[in-house]
């Protein structure tokens, strides 16, 4: 029993990292533009599909980063369509991203087909506390943690990061001091694209990806991000991990069919608990 537990927890942490990365992409875009990007799960799917194609001609370690870069460009494109026109409200942009996410189904099916895709990750399994875990999960965790640390440093402690945050905090004032708000928004979409793709590329070797895998990813990523008010990367990471581990435990010991519902129910309980403790007006992003 004990050895199973360690395995489930690490598997869950790995999956949770994927949710957290999707969530962090949502956060990166929302922090700067106040747009909830419904195409965030799509970035993960396209990233995974691109990587699977690139891997037929390129070695591991090159194909995956290239796929992430390619989807950063896709993110930029989505940004152009969603917020490119001056005066677009965040609400209108949200609908545009939803439309693009649906449009992307057609593109993905056309290019990569409707069959599940996967590719090899880190081979083998390791023993952690008597439990056997696929080694690839350790890579997922080992990449995600520094990415989040980097994000926190970037947004909190660099000029560019502060300028990005300023755009959402007060777009008018940002323009007053000479920040190009639209350019910053596009940059945020590119960052969001890269983070989404990273999730897809990291998760695919352990969980097959199909054209509509974005739904699971965005639902879980959104839940993780909402926990942090859509603005806090650190809380998003915690939320993603909590979701991942809960789902792994429910699937392992109970009923795999209901793992998502149970995990999201738990999330809801956490959020209600937090809201009860703290008046909403004081919940401001940092």
């Amino acid at each position: 029993m004990a050895n199973e537990l360690a395995g489930y927890v690490i598997t869950g942490l790995g999956t949770g990292c994927g949710f957290a990365l999707v969530g962090s992409g949502l956060v990166a875009i929302y922090r700067v533009t106040r747009v909830v990007n419904f195409a965030q799960g799509t970035f993960a799917v396209i990233g995974a599909m691109c990587a699977s194609s690139l891997l037929s001609v390129l070695p591991h370690g090159i194909a995956e980063p290239l796929a992430v870069l390619a989807v950063a460009l896709v993110g930029l494109l989505v940004g152009f369509v969603a917020i490119g026109r001056p005066g677009t409200t965040p609400q209108a942009a949200l609908i545009v991203t939803l439309g693009l996410a649906i449009f992307a189904y057609a593109v993905v099916v056309l290019v990569w087909g409707d069959q599940p895709r996967s590719f090899a990750g880190v081979p083998g399994a390791v023993t952690v506390l008597d439990g056997r875990v696929q080694s690839h999960y350790l890579l997922v965790i080992g990449v995600t943690v520094p990415v989040f640390a980097g994000m926190a440093l970037f947004f909190g402690h660099t000029d560019l990061g502060r300028a990005l945050t300023a755009c959402a905090s007060n777009p008018y004032a940002a323009r007053v001091i000479g920040i190009d708000v639209r350019r910053m928004g596009l940059l945020a979409f590119a960052i969001g694209g890269a983070l989404g793709a990273l999730a897809g590329v990291l998760l695919t070797p352990v969980q097959q990806i199909t054209f509509d895998s974005d739904v699971t990813l965005i639902v879980n990523g959104f839940a993780a991000a909402v926990l942090g008010g859509l603005t806090r990367p650190a809380v998003t990471l915690a939320g993603g991990l909590l979701l991942g581990v809960t789902q792994a435990l429910v699937a392992g010991y109970g009923n795999a069919a209901h793992q998502t519902e149970i995990a999201l129910g738990l999330m809801l309980a956490v959020m209600i608990g937090r809201a009860a403790r703290r008046p909403a007006a004081l919940e401001e992003p940092t």
Binding site: A163, T165, N170, A173, R175, E284, T286
Partner: protein, 229 residues
């Protein structure tokens, strides 16, 4: 400080529209190097429109805006970055020129020093106005354009801000274009002034001239009691 042939700020025949509505109608105005200039006028006259055009947020329909040097804008309603600390607000002020050193601003506005770690959105109105001025100073401006210095602030706080402006002008030669509802304060601080009404300049001259003219004293200095109509 820069040496130029013409005035620091030169607005010529400027017309600005919001859709079909004309907010500024052939407005001309100058601010010389190191000069203190006031712009007064009633609500809706187009003062903020002029300021937003000066800092490039609005685009003229016709006419021209020439700024020979660096212009910094303290926007109406303070507009601090509420989620960010005072220190981060100041640093962002230096974004355009890549300036990070906030020490000079704390030297000019020492009251900000102990607030540096506080979240700007939770400060009082006067403190926020101080942050907005400090943020503008971070871009090492030749001219400071202030949209409503005194709005909603207690007289003592206003007096303190005015003192800072005088010091900046005297010590560093920073020119100021001051938009003010309180015409007495504006004419007191500045040597020259313009009166803007319904998008047009209706009077201009030295502060002394304008204070003496019946147009200004009646409408803005409480010269007569408003009739009962």
């Amino acid at each position: 400080m820069i040496r130029t042939s013409g005035p620091l700020v030169e607005v010529a025949e400027l017309t600005v529209r919001y859709g079909a509505a004309t907010a500024l109608d052939r407005v001309s105005l100058t601010v010389g190097v190191g000069e203190l200039v006031a712009l007064v006028g009633p609500n809706g006259a187009g003062k903020s429109t002029l300021v937003d055009t000066l800092s490039g947020i609005l685009v003229p329909a016709s006419g021209s805006v020439t700024v020979r040097g660096r212009l910094a804008h303290v926007p109406e309603g303070r507009q601090v970055f509420g989620d960010l600390s005072v220190e981060d607000n100041l640093r962002l002020g230096g974004w355009r020129i890549g300036e990070r050193d906030t020490a000079a601003v704390y030297a000019v506005l020492p009251a900000l020093t102990e607030l540096r770690r506080r979240r700007a959105g939770l400060l009082s109105g006067g403190e926020q106005q101080m942050v907005a001025v400090g943020r503008a100073l971070m871009s090492r401006p030749d001219v400071l354009v202030i949209d409503e210095l005194s709005l909603g602030l207690a007289p003592l706080v206003v007096a303190d801000l005015v003192r800072h402006l005088r010091e900046l002008n005297a010590w560093r030669g920073v020119a100021v274009l001051l938009i003010e509802q309180n015409a007495r304060l504006a004419l007191d601080l500045c040597s020259r002034a313009y009166v803007l009404e319904a998008g047009r300049i209706v009077a201009e001259g030295t502060s002394a001239e304008l204070a003496a003219s019946s147009l200004v004293s009646d409408a803005y200095l409480g010269g007569v009691v408003v009739d009962g109509e």
